[in-house]
């Protein structure tokens, strides 16, 4: 093995670790901010009502539906040097692009009218979040979006399950009325390794590292705004 390779490998490792460290800090700031959002406080403090859950599902639907779309757009803007990352994003988009139907089903199972969630509109925060995602995805090699994925996947693996259990407990609903939240809580845990592999495809590169962290910060703030804007 050449000397250059021996030096290069720890660099990549260190670059991935450094980005993960910064992302973890962004995540904890985000999570702390979420704790203070009125809707989440209602959920964790026991005054959460069915109307709150329905409003929450309507907004989640906007973001989940758009998620697969911006991911597809991002994939279409990734060059030939990063085909592997393009493939991963496309597979991801395919796997998730029908997930919003699960939200519709939860809405109906918890007593809502299907038409109401299908006709739901983005709130101010959802508009901003969605516009931001499509804006980033439209740029060449939009690797910063990995930071957005970290935030959104983190919500799935860390918060969704807990929120789902609390919704059922507070509203006395069967688990079949919170499948989207409970399903993500159970299935997103393995995504961390996949995420590290994706980082490895674009790092080390100082500008990319900074773009990933910045995108995570903005996404976290806009995601919070989306939940803040849900009347509670």
């Amino acid at each position: 093995m050449s000397g250059a390779l021996v030096i290069a490998e720890p660099d990549a490792d260190e670059a991935v670790a450094a980005v993960l460290r910064k992302l973890a800090v962004v995540w904890t700031g985000f999570e702390a901010r979420l704790e203070a959002v009125p809707l989440i406080r209602k959920l964790t403090r026991g005054r959460f009502e069915l109307a709150d859950y329905h409003a929450f599902l309507v907004q989640l639907r906007q973001q989940v539906k758009d998620g697969a779309l911006w991911m597809s757009r991002a994939a279409s803007n990734i060059d030939e040097q990063h085909l592997e990352l393009r493939s991963i994003l496309m597979r991801h988009a395919v796997a998730e692009h029908r997930d919003f139907r699960l939200l519709d089903a939860d809405y109906v199972a918890s007593g809502g009218a299907r038409q109401a969630i299908e006709n739901g509109e983005k709130n101010l925060g959802s508009e901003a979040l969605s516009a931001w995602m499509f804006h980033k995805a439209s740029q060449a090699n939009p690797f910063g979006l990995l930071g957005a994925m970290f935030i959104i996947e983190g919500l799935g693996s860390i918060k969704a399950g807990e929120w789902g259990r609390r919704v059922c407990e507070r509203l006395d609903l069967p688990t079949t009325a919170a499948r989207f939240l409970l399903y993500h809580g159970e299935n997103d845990a393995g995504h961390m390794e996949e995420f590290q592999a994706m980082l490895r495809l674009v790092l080390p590169d100082a500008a990319t590292a900074a773009a990933i962290v910045r995108c995570a910060e903005v996404t976290a703030r806009l995601y919070t705004l989306q939940i803040e804007e849900i009347a509670a």
Partner: protein
């Protein structure tokens, strides 16, 4: 040149009351709520990995000590270890979760037990991190020349709150006579004792001293509700009129608002917040994990530690486990006193060599706070 004085820990003291109490007899020692074994007790002991602890009361409920007397004993032992006496002390910063009296402060009670002439005093009341709040006061007092010899002590007498009569007749006990997990878990986790350090502007003339490089306290209370608390019901803990004194002691007892409780759901988020603060310090270069020779991390349960290792490894922020030092299994979780009990045991073990760095981390679930203290071992050059 730094106009401020360097500060050295020149003595550590620990005090653990009575005989070690092992897991088989601990529940009978503090008393069975409703006369029946706890539903959660065994599970709690598996989680926290504690095998032995000490109590300042007998199985009959007789007090062997007070919080203040244990704290004073720890201060005297720290002075003794530093080669000093009570008369050398001119500043005392005392920490605890709950003092013996509601009023006045814990430091006054400790000074009362110590006796002797005038002292500067400072009382710090919080959960575990209060130990480092007091340490920071003592450090700053010596650093600025306000004190020549300052002691920081921390004491806990948790078991007195864990007697069955403390819960009976209140809302924390359900119709089947079982105590709520939020309160019961802590009965199997916390125990009694005290610890102290003595700080001076010069190292000991002989042997090792620990130079205090820095102490950082970070509170995230602006984002989180109380996570471990006493003095309010679960619902009332973050309300402006939720405190026990709003409705008076009898009504507060009836609604389960007096006992110590822990919110386990919130704890998970608080743990991640602590890790975030630590990672931020690593990222900023304040902490270099490779340059830490001994890590003293106060954690309330062994299971919590296992949960975070994966993330720390992925972010290259892990301090290898062979550098971790703890006395949790043998001395139990003594809240604010734990960090001093651990430090005293580490120094006594003879493992610390001149030039080595010791990082103390004290996360506190009270309302999302974490304290850090970096020490460097030095040997006096005569």
């Amino acid at each position: 040149m730094d106009p401020l004085s360097p500060v050295y820990i020149t003595g550590c003291g620990a005090f653990l009351p009575g005989q070690p109490i092992d897991n088989e007899i601990m529940e009978d020692h503090i008393g069975r709520v409703g006369g029946a074994p706890s539903v959660f007790g065994r599970r709690a002991l598996r989680w926290n990995g504690i095998a032995r602890r000490h109590y300042a009361l007998t199985p009959e409920g007789r007090w062997l000590h007070s919080n203040a007397s244990m704290s004073a004993e720890a201060v005297l032992r720290a002075l003794e270890a530093a080669g000093l006496g009570r008369a050398d002390l001119d500043c005392l910063a005392a920490a605890t979760t709950q003092g013996d009296l509601l009023v006045p402060g814990h430091a006054s009670a400790v000074h009362g037990e110590l006796g002797g002439g005038a002292l500067e005093l400072a009382s710090f009341q919080s959960v575990c991190a209060s130990a480092l709040m007091a340490a920071k006061y003592a450090w700053m007092a010596v650093r600025t020349g306000e004190a020549n010899c300052a002691a920081a002590c921390a004491g806990e007498f948790s078991s007195r709150w864990f007697r069955p009569e403390f819960y009976e007749g209140g809302a924390l006990i359900d119709t089947k006579g079982r105590l709520a997990m939020a309160a019961d878990f802590l009965r199997f986790t916390l125990s009694d004792g005290a610890g102290a350090v003595v700080m001076e502007s010069r190292p000991r003339p002989k042997g090792l001293s620990l130079r205090v490089q820095w102490i950082d306290m970070v509170s995230l209370a602006g984002r989180f509700d109380p996570c471990m608390w006493a003095g309010a019901s679960e619902q009332g803990r973050a309300e402006r009129d939720g405190g026990w004194s709003r409705r008076g002691p009898l009504a507060a007892h009836a609604e389960g608002a007096i006992a110590l409780q822990q919110d386990f759901n919130l704890l998970k988020a608080v743990i991640r917040a602590w890790i975030g603060v630590y990672l931020d310090k690593v990222d900023a270069g304040r902490i270099d994990p490779r340059a830490v020779d001994h890590l003293l991390c106060h954690y309330s349960a062994r299971s919590l530690r296992e949960e975070i290792v994966g993330l720390l490894e992925a972010t290259h922020a892990m301090i290898p486990e062979e550098r971790w030092f703890t006395t949790l299994t043998e001395t139990g979780n003594v809240g604010s006193a734990s960090i001093w009990i651990m430090l005293e045991a580490l120094v006594r073990s003879g493992r610390v060599q001149p030039g080595q760095r010791i990082l103390c981390i004290v996360p506190e679930s009270g309302r999302a706070m974490v304290g850090f203290m970096m020490l460097e071992a030095v040997e006096a050059v005569r």
